[in-house]
Symmetry: C2
């Protein structure tokens, strides 16, 4: 058996490397830098030391040259590219996410002489199944919302910022009446002076409870509990739990791995992740990290619901990237239960339902979140929710939206307003 045959002894990281020299030499340099190397020869670097710590290049797949340098560079092209797999001994990293990030991610971006480097994937051995993963995921989300099948229809408080707690509660009442399964704070809302978390909980939870008593429908409300201080975040968490809340919006990059790890170990809430800041890692294709690699870390840490934009998002992300992200989070790492619920969002109003359904493997295990698409419906929010449900019925039945809209006036109104 070769040195890489034992899948469980190594962490394998795939990098897309671009440089004006030889990608194989650059890959070897990165493997050395990220283990035992320095800029000059040292007496203590024995064979035994290297065996314990040294990373090795396992595979190299050449790619077409880049048209121009990824990072601005004074070097002459051609800029050669390759996907390179580097195998790191599990013993040298262990199962700590901080160690993984520093050894396999953090340092590689500092290397001199590259014009592009991107982490494409991280392949973790079975020892990494020790992490908690999602506490609720798809099944738990369905149970808490009482939605046994079909997409979970969600909305967000609008305007995003500036509403007082009682004004927010009125929006919640309207959305509950409109028939949504889930409502969330805007990710930018945490605990500002004009609407502190506790005051929002006090104003909103009676509306949720009242609606449940009257209709039997338990709407999931996700409160923005994020804080860079884990003690503050836990105080927010505990207050939501005490008042009967079941979910929270977490700005994962803004609390960091430590904040998420701390929260998950103590959490009774379904954790709805917003990835704001992720774009820095991915917006330039020659730099950063693929969502495929990124989402694995946050799943290990316990994300239950993952916002991943949608078809025709209002942001820069191409549809293709969204579709890949959807498949990424539905692919088990160790067990099917470690898949979070995909949250399809940004500029969604139902018009994207058919294409979303067709391109994501015809699944209804998703949350579909409309903000302006519900609040801004010409016949009101109730019609906005109905229009979205109608669009998903059309998708599931294989009918075009235009056809389905003939007998469904709410969907027809959406198409007339946004379908142009």
């Amino acid at each position: 058996m070769g040195q890489f045959d034992s899948r469980d002894d190594f962490i394998r990281v795939t990098y897309r490397i671009e440089c004006s020299g030889d990608p194989a030499a650059m890959a070897a340099k990165i493997a050395a830098d990220q283990s035992t190397g320095t800029f000059t020869e040292l007496p203590g670097e024995t064979a035994a030391v290297r065996a314990r710590g040294a990373a090795r290049v396992q595979a190299l797949t050449p790619l077409p040259d880049a048209q121009s340098a990824g990072f601005p560079s004074t070097e002459q092209g051609p800029f050669r590219r390759a996907d390179v797999v580097i195998a790191y001994p599990l013993d040298a990293i262990g199962t700590d996410i901080a160690a993984l990030m520093t050894v396999t991610v953090g340092g590689v971006f500092a290397v001199r002489g590259i014009t592009g480097i991107r982490v494409m994937d991280i392949d973790l051995p079975s020892a990494w199944a020790c992490h908690p993963g999602p506490q609720f995921g798809v099944a738990g989300s369905r149970r808490l919302m009482g939605v046994a099948q079909g997409p979970m229809i969600a909305s967000i408080i609008k305007p995003s910022l500036g509403l007082l707690p009682q004004e927010t509660a009125q929006v919640v009442a309207d959305l509950c009446a409109a028939g949504v399964d889930f409502i969330k704070d805007d990710e930018k809302l945490m605990s500002p002076a004009y609407a502190p978390l506790e005051a929002r909980v006090d104003a909103i939870m009676p509306v949720i409870r009242d609606h449940a008593q009257k209709t039997g429908k338990q709407v999931m409300y996700a409160f923005g509990i994020s804080s860079a201080d884990p003690d503050t975040m836990m105080r927010h968490h505990d207050y939501v739990v005490k008042q009967g809340g079941v979910a929270a919006v977490i700005n994962i990059n803004s609390i960091g791995y430590g904040g998420m790890s701390f929260l998950r170990k103590r959490s009774a809430l379904c954790l709805h992740a917003h990835r704001n800041g992720w774009d820095i890692l991915t917006r330039h294709p020659a730099l950063g990290m693929e969502f495929r690699a990124y989402q694995k870390i946050w799943r290990l840490l316990g994300v239950d619901q993952f916002q991943i934009n949608g078809i025709g998002a209002k942001y820069w992300e191409p549809d293709e990237s969204f579709v890949k992200s959807f498949h990424d989070i539905r692919t088990p790492m160790f067990t099917p239960e470690d898949c979070p619920l995909p949250v399809v969002c940004s500029g969604q109003w139902g018009g994207q339902a058919v294409e979303t359904y067709e391109r994501t493997g015809r699944t209804l295990d998703l949350m579909y979140l409309g903000g302006g698409g519900i609040h801004g419906h010409p016949m009101g929010a109730c019609a906005g929710v109905r229009a979205i449900r109608q669009a998903w019925e059309a998708a599931e039945q294989g009918v075009s939206l235009a056809d389905y809209a003939r007998a469904h006036p709410e969907l027809a109104a959406s198409l007339a307003k946004w379908g142009g």
Copy 2:
């Protein structure tokens, strides 16, 4: 008085924007997106709501057009650029770092239609002085090491990874004998199976104590205690404290804001920050975040010593960028005590001392860290430390290294090996 005259009511963030359209229009769109906006008009967005939450463009400074698009783009040039200051109401964000990052940083990178965006600076009002900041900083570092004046000379365990605890202890003994003020674990070393944190502490601290008893010199050893799990990190912290240690290496990006906040509130150790992963934020000039903005957040969170590379670093960072970073961390945010100790490192062997001294304001309030430059000295580690001290004497006296080396054979040997 105009709406922006009260410095303390707003958080001001400066962005470098690049787009094929009008930068002023793009700035206005970002300000709207990051406060109350969505993709369609909404009934609830009243003047009162906007007043509480709305961000506003305060200033715009045009810059020369970019030669080519920062991010790959199908849009036609010219790609116009501007530095834009957006003022966010303090009341809408408060003093939480997670709120700051999500509202002013995270979201802006998702905007459609830009070909570049970079956070250049963050100007925080006095309410933000509530954060703890460094516990030890420059003065505390000097006190703990017993170095009243002059640069603090530091080294790192080499090889970086793969040594057993007792092998590491032998390297520590050699470095203590060589006369360093400070020794650190490589940032990639946290608690691997072959050298767990506790075993390293057990092996190393007796060497440090023994050296102190024999010589009166207290060498500061910074142990790699980082973990993405704050509970584990605190267990490491407590073990170091219990065994008499005074410092720790923290991989700040790999633990995140939450991890750092949690640690600082409970820490008895001097926190030596390694910023691996920062390069992702800064390597492409049209994307990410200037160190000037980045370092402010980590100073608020309590970094005592900050690694910032050096002149002629082995990594990609240009000297100019290092010099700016040095000045950034020596600039008080609220008080002089909130400045961490600059740690000059990467490929340092003394040959850069004169230029470092001249370009950083002729200060000796710094740590100068040699790895290979000490371990790899042709006359041994002791001579390596002496050579570095000699180089700094030359810098302070305004003598060239070549002149000073005539009467100082250790420096002469360094120049002969690395000065070519």
